[in-house]
Symmetry: C3
Subunit: 346 residues, 3 copies
């Protein structure tokens, strides 16, 4: 897919390591795992359990820590780097495909005359930009995006096709927003009155920090009063739901299909897996790790690793155990009863 | 964000309560919680546990029931209202932002000549309206919406940007549909034939009642035979999946990421939390409340509050308990065995 | 909704069965269940438990296996077919509504001049087609779809409104992609460096086989290195999340809101229910069935039916049992202790 190529000298220089003279001109056209890499590809050892592949890989070159460098076959070039996975992450940027987009505004885009769009920004086909919008330097707004009134997108952010921002949404620098993202829809707020739901208009905003990435079809609701805030460096996967007035601290990463209900605050540098449900009005402190499919119904005030949920079994075994779960409290009482009797006997 | 302001006399009149003469002209520019309200904002006491803030709030005025009116500081104006949260819900409408939209059809919209669009409706940029569509009075169809053939949207409904209606979908009066909503995609129906899936064309419709709100990226599938029906006053949060031929009764509210499988009927005035899974072909009666992340695999024929799922613990504790769960049936048998022996001893 | 009608002779011929002479000209305008069918509709018996309706249905005709043909009332026409549900699936295609679309390209579509679009294809209003795209014979690309650079859509595929393909995505023949589908967004990959996340550019593609159907708002991420692959005949429901480098084998069907994390391989002819979570880097063999809301954290190497999760109970009962679950390991130890003592007594 990539037509780009680099010589090993360029690659070593890009990540800041050295490469032996005899290999400096070797051409690299892409990255690949050790087992499948071809003679024009660069590979890396991401875990010591793959050490065995270092001797047999067909890769043009491998990135390895010093400890395992001697395992590499003679004909394979070696780049020494303490964290090869990090090196791979950095080098992936050299090979990324970017749709050609000059700066400017596609003639099919509909731009309100009050919008301020940097000259270096690119506004693709079919985009709608409403009144009072501000779009910074080098921003790319992909095809079919809708940027609501008085929203702003700061420098170097990249909106893939079909992102929707409601009104008064602020996106920071270097954000990446994927297709289907919706920022600023109404939070779910209604007051009951005589069997009817009276809508609570959602008067707050969504504020997105710098270096935030938000995955496809993820939704972040605007605040009811006050704002929903996603701090710098937060990474959200696909199909996540973030309720109104949620705060997510710097550097926290959340995997796909997780739901965070309204007014919950999540700390910094948390890692939350997929399909987790977090109830509303909770506080989760910094550095919390939550495993997949957990249900969080109380605040978490101590850093650590948390889990809930049950792993699969065969249907037969599961059905038998599930029936007992409905009697678990009773079972515990029966055991207590036995223990009491046992004490009496002694 | 809001530039609107109202004097307290107007506000009191809007919700139908009185305000002392000396405060009638006080200007209010917005709503805020007691702790953060400024001298131009109106606040309210949503729960008696916040009573302590009434004496210290900086708000221009507070809405309070008669019982706690005496707790308010002298300089703060007082509006007596039995349900301040409901007053807040109603007053939020005064401060809501509305993107300026005159009536009419944006020149970039693509409208089939057979469509009937009320003169007072607004059709935004990039909208596509297919054959036979009917759009009522004061309807707003936001940018990038697609209205499929022979669909109809009744008076005063508001479609935010990028809502998709397939063909033959009927939306009632005063509906609010958020971005990314898809109404009328095919239900998931296939018949097996010799190891292949034969598609069952979905021949029904989606019928949406009056006063329904549907959150961002929620999907409601069309019926297979017969229709999928969302009755009046139903409120659906974001990222909900409603399967084909589901019926949801009047006034029921469902929170984010919940999935309802095909042909299930949910009663009136139910409240269903987030990430709940409801299997197909079930009946859930009126007035049922289901807590978050519950799994519903049987019909619920009695009103009440239902739950399933496990709350989080530390990973270590969880891992130990989960292992025992796989032996729970066996454990129950062991306890029974002990009880039998115990009886023999006596 | 349908204006189509067929005589019974045509219908019998379409599915390959016979119909008695006296009924050949009877006109059928649609399909319906036995209980609600009218005198112009065709019905079928999908399960023997509905046998009682055969005598009383108002349907013009019923499809039934030979065994139950004698139960049908005299005036109702009979079509004998061993698998009536399959017959219904096949006949549903006769009555499906199709939005009128000639071949050609709507003038509002924005098509890169390097794209190759078959003459028989239809490109609807507001579509964007980027550089190097190839679109095959009889393909329909619905309103507002975005087809990213160098992607391809093979013959007879149907993209409903507002589908997004990123760059270098390949879709096979006869695919059906529903509104809001996003194929090829970045997988969720970051390497940590000094408290920051370094993005791993996702360099692979998404490859979709023939006869695949993908439901509304489902997302399939592109591979990191190598590709994400959905094989022939796979059926994905709405709001599913498929992570990077996942492989799904031929004929597998997955229900709504299920999430599959990165690098997991799912075999052929599996059936996976809704709201299931499948962790990353697992292998699930052919022919596995997983019930709704299950959590899969280990590979499944034997075909069979698997489940996890707990069914709902009343909140009171649930709360008592959940508390005991947190002490389950301890409870098991107490039982072991009692057993030991009991042995000593004997």
């Amino acid at each position: 897919m990539s037509l780009k190529s680099y010589c090993l000298a360029e690659i070593a220089s890009f990540i800041g390591c050295e490469v032996d003279n005899r290999w400096q001109d070797r051409r690299i056209t892409g990255l690949a795992p050790l087992e499948t890499a071809t003679a024009e590809q660069l590979s890396f050892i991401s875990h010591s359990k793959y050490k065995k592949y270092l001797a047999t890989t067909q890769a043009a070159a491998v990135i390895t820590p010093a400890e395992t460098a001697s395992c590499v076959a003679d004909n394979t070039a070696v780049l020494i780097y303490a964290d090869p996975y990090l090196a791979y992450a950095k080098l992936s940027h050299l090979f990324a495909y970017r749709t050609a987009c000059a700066s400017g505004i596609h003639p099919s885009a509909v731009i309100d005359k009050s919008a301020k769009i940097a000259e270096s920004a690119y506004i693709a086909a079919g985009v709608v930009v409403e009144e009072g919008v501000v779009i910074g330097d080098n921003v790319v707004v992909g095809p079919g995006c809708i940027i609501g009134a008085h929203s702003s997108i700061d420098n170097d952010s990249y909106l893939h096709a079909r992102v929707t921002l409601y009104h008064h949404i602020a996106v920071g620098k270097r954000a990446v927003l994927h297709s289907g993202v919706v920022l600023g829809a109404d939070g779910f707020g209604f007051a009951p009155e005589k069997g009817q739901w009276i809508k609570i208009e959602q008067l707050g905003r969504v504020l997105i920090g710098d270096d935030v990435e938000i995955g496809a079809n993820t939704t972040v609701d605007r605040g009811a009063l006050g704002d929903t805030i996603i701090h710098n460096g937060v990474k959200l996967d696909n199909q996540i739901q973030i309720g109104h007035n949620v705060k997510i601290g710097q550097g926290t990463a959340i995997a796909g299909c997780t739901a965070v209900a309204g007014s919950t605050t999540i700390g910094r540098h948390c890692r939350i897996a997929g399909l987790v449900g977090i109830a509303g009005h909770l506080e989760i402190t910094d550095g919390v790790v939550i495993l997949g499919m957990s249900g969080v119904s109380k605040s978490i005030l101590e850093p650590g690793i948390y889990a809930s949920g049950l792993p699969i079994e065969s249907r037969e075994s599961w059905a038998r155990n599930v029936i007992q779960f409905k009697h678990l409290n009773e079972l515990a009482k029966r055991v207590t009863q036995l223990e009491k009797k046992d004490e009496l006997h002694e």
